[in-house]
């Protein structure tokens, strides 16, 4: 399973990529593989909303199951990937690229220290 080194991960299989004081969020390759074919992506927040770590900002649905996507850290939503609801299959084909879900402004960068690195998440999913 592919976990890029430059990303940080939550135990719920979200990833976050830092770009200055902004972060880009999506779900991992492992998550898309477990869910199988994604057929539905919905954003449950509006741009400009501030959310706490662990709050739900999106819902994804596959032919097998439905899942919620949580905020990896506290932050304000700057943008969501408007193209994704019309092309949910991108979550399967390119989870770390085209299927980014939200761009956030991070309130407290020190929260990132609590997230897992690539080795950490790889070990967690191996032990599942």
């Amino acid at each position: 399973m592919n976990f890029p080194k430059e990303l940080k991960y939550t135990r719920n299989d979200e990833w976050i990529r830092m770009e200055g004081d902004e972060g880009v969020i999506g779900i991992t390759d492992y998550a898309q593989d477990q869910l199988s074919d994604i057929v539905f992506v919905e954003f449950l927040v509006d741009v400009g909303e501030s959310l706490e770590q662990g709050e739900t900002f999106a819902a994804v649905e596959s032919v097998k199951a439905a899942a919620e996507v949580y905020m990896p850290v506290n932050g304000k939503i700057i943008a969501v990937n408007e193209d994704l609801p019309d092309a949910p299959e991108k979550v399967n084909s390119d989870p770390y690229g085209e299927a980014w879900m939200a761009r956030i402004k991070i309130s407290d960068p020190s929260e990132l220290d609590d997230l897992l690195d690539a080795d950490g998440i790889a070990k967690l999913e191996r032990d599942h």
């Binding site: 074919d37 649905e61 097998k64 599942h128």
Partner: protein, 494 residues
């Protein structure tokens, strides 16, 4: 991937069978004045199919033969209790005194129907140990919503407005969190321990003054009787919360254990599962709710009751009453009466001993299948099960085969697949519920098929991945079905 439009050619649509001018009726000459309908109310075009009665009868009979049902084959769909439904249920529910009445008729003229509802309520009380029953809810999840609303009404009536938290174990039915959320409660998930029981430490941590209650499915969706049930109920009660029981798995415990005796305060039954009424086609169901004495005043009304006692000469007078603090009506009229007549018949035919025997055989059949499959399929929570069990449909030495492929291949053997991918706590879950109505020969044939499929998974994985091969329609494109919804009556223009 089979192209649906080609594979469905085995039976044309009614539109394709249509022939201009053909009809299934011939009216006599009009012998009253012809009424002119205003032009503004007439439409130019109404493309309804034109067929004779024989065309319609044959078309729908052929379509029905392309289906799999309890009457055509084994249907081990976990958590759904697809038992055989005795045909006498159909005979009694069609008796004119039950079938040709209206809920707005004067109550003196429908005493038999109201009396049947009353007796069914009494029997469900005896089977479950509860003090009050409503027959109104339309099906299981509707029963859940009703039960949760009763719990909320109870807390509010005591002035206890802080109780907004509902605990849902991760082995509960999938509808439980939805019912709580619809009732405006916050949901907290409680994990299972290594034996598949509710994790008591995690439960205790959430038992505080904001607790509205817990929704327990027992036996749970792993098919296991929760060994901590009594402690769970005590813990929730001590914190001032109530215990909701999801009775979807009642088929395992009829005549053996009563939820009210175990500490459950509210429970819904699924008449369409446990009490043998047809539901493979999506309903109608019936989800009566039973409650303790303390909650009976909150039940939805009206409820069937004896309003005037009878004596040796006269039968009692049955009527409808609404409890004092009722949450109100939750269904038009009295609920799904036709389903009640079937469940009533089933209970009357079996009697107490028979109901207990049905549950015992349901549990025996599930354990027999689990024992036959244990060496071939991983059983993650491997102990004596109740009426169903969950196996993993995946092997490390056949990495490209998934539960879905196994299920599709099972259809080639004439079996309905088990429930897939639920509960979520078991990866690649295959949830198998044989029910009591299957013979040892059927169970063996099913186990043999699953064992053969496990072999094929290693030797001919393609056979599984392209299955089913022997059904009227091959592997359907589930992604397309979920994404490209066509919900119109007319076929798109070619």
């Amino acid at each position: 991937m089979t192209d649906l439009s080609t594979s469905l050619k085995i039976e044309p649509t009614v539109f394709e069978l249509s022939s201009p001018g053909r009809q299934g009726h011939s009216f006599p000459e009009l012998d009253v004045p012809h009424a002119e309908i205003p032009k503004s109310l007439l439409r130019d075009d109404l493309p309804l199919p034109e067929l004779a009665e024989v065309d319609v009868a044959r078309h729908f009979t052929r379509l029905s033969q392309l289906n799999h049902g309890v009457d055509t084959g084994f249907y081990p769909l976990g958590s759904c209790t697809m038992k055989y439904n005795p045909k006498i249920n159909e005979a009694t529910s069609r008796l004119p005194g039950f079938a040709n009445i209206h809920p707005l008729q004067p109550i003196e003229t429908v005493q038999g129907a109201i009396g049947l509802m009353f007796e069914l309520q009494e029997w469900l009380k005896e089977i479950s140990g509860f003090a009050g029953i409503t027959l109104q809810p339309a099906a299981g999840a509707h029963g859940e919503l009703t039960g949760v609303l009763i719990m909320r009404a109870y807390h509010r009536a005591r002035g206890d407005d802080r109780r907004v938290k509902m605990l849902i174990p991760d082995s509960a039915h999938g509808t439980n969190p939805a019912s709580s959320a619809m009732s405006g409660l916050e949901i907290v998930e409680i994990p299972s321990d290594t034996r598949g029981n509710i994790d008591l430490a995690a439960l205790r941590a959430e038992c505080d003054e904001t607790l509205a209650g817990i929704m327990i499915t027992n036996p749970n969706t792993l098919g296991l009787f929760d060994e901590n049930l009594r402690q769970v109920c005590d813990c929730v009660h001590e914190a001032g919360g109530l215990v909701y029981g999801d009775g979807a798995n009642f088929n395992a415990i009829m005549g053996i254990s009563r939820p009210a005796d175990c500490g459950v305060d509210v429970l819904h039954f699924n008449l369409h599962k446990t009490f043998s009424t047809p539901h493979g086609g999506g309903g109608p169901g019936s989800g009566p709710v039973g409650v303790t004495d303390e909650l009976a005043a909150f039940l939805p009304g009206p409820i069937a009751a004896i309003v005037e006692e009878g004596d040796d000469e006269e039968p009692p007078l049955y009527g409808l009453v609404t409890p004092e603090k009722s949450i109100g009506r939750i269904k038009a009229f009295h609920g799904h009466f036709g389903v009640m007549t079937r469940a009533y018949t089933y209970i009357m035919m079996l009697g107490g001993e028979g109901l207990r025997a049905a549950s015992e055989h349901a549990v025996l059949n599930a354990n027999y299948l689990q024992a036959r499959l244990r060496d071939t399929y991983k059983i993650p929570y491997d102990r004596i099960c109740m009426h169903e069990f969950v196996a993993e449909g995946h092997w490390e030495d056949a990495p490209d085969i998934h539960a879905l492929d196994i299920s599709k291949r099972l259809m080639d053997f004439g079996f309905h697949p088990p429930t897939n991918y639920f509960p979520l706590i078991v990866p690649e879950a295959l949830m198998i519920e044989p029910t009591e109505t299957e013979s040892k020969e059927t169970l063996d044939a099913f186990a043999d098929a699953l064992i053969q499929i496990a072999e094929e998974a290693r030797t001919q994985p393609d056979l599984l991945q392209t299955a089913p091969h022997r059904t009227p329609v091959g592997r359907l494109d589930e992604v397309k079905a979920a994404r490209e919804l066509v919900l119109c009556c007319w076929l798109p223009e070619k």
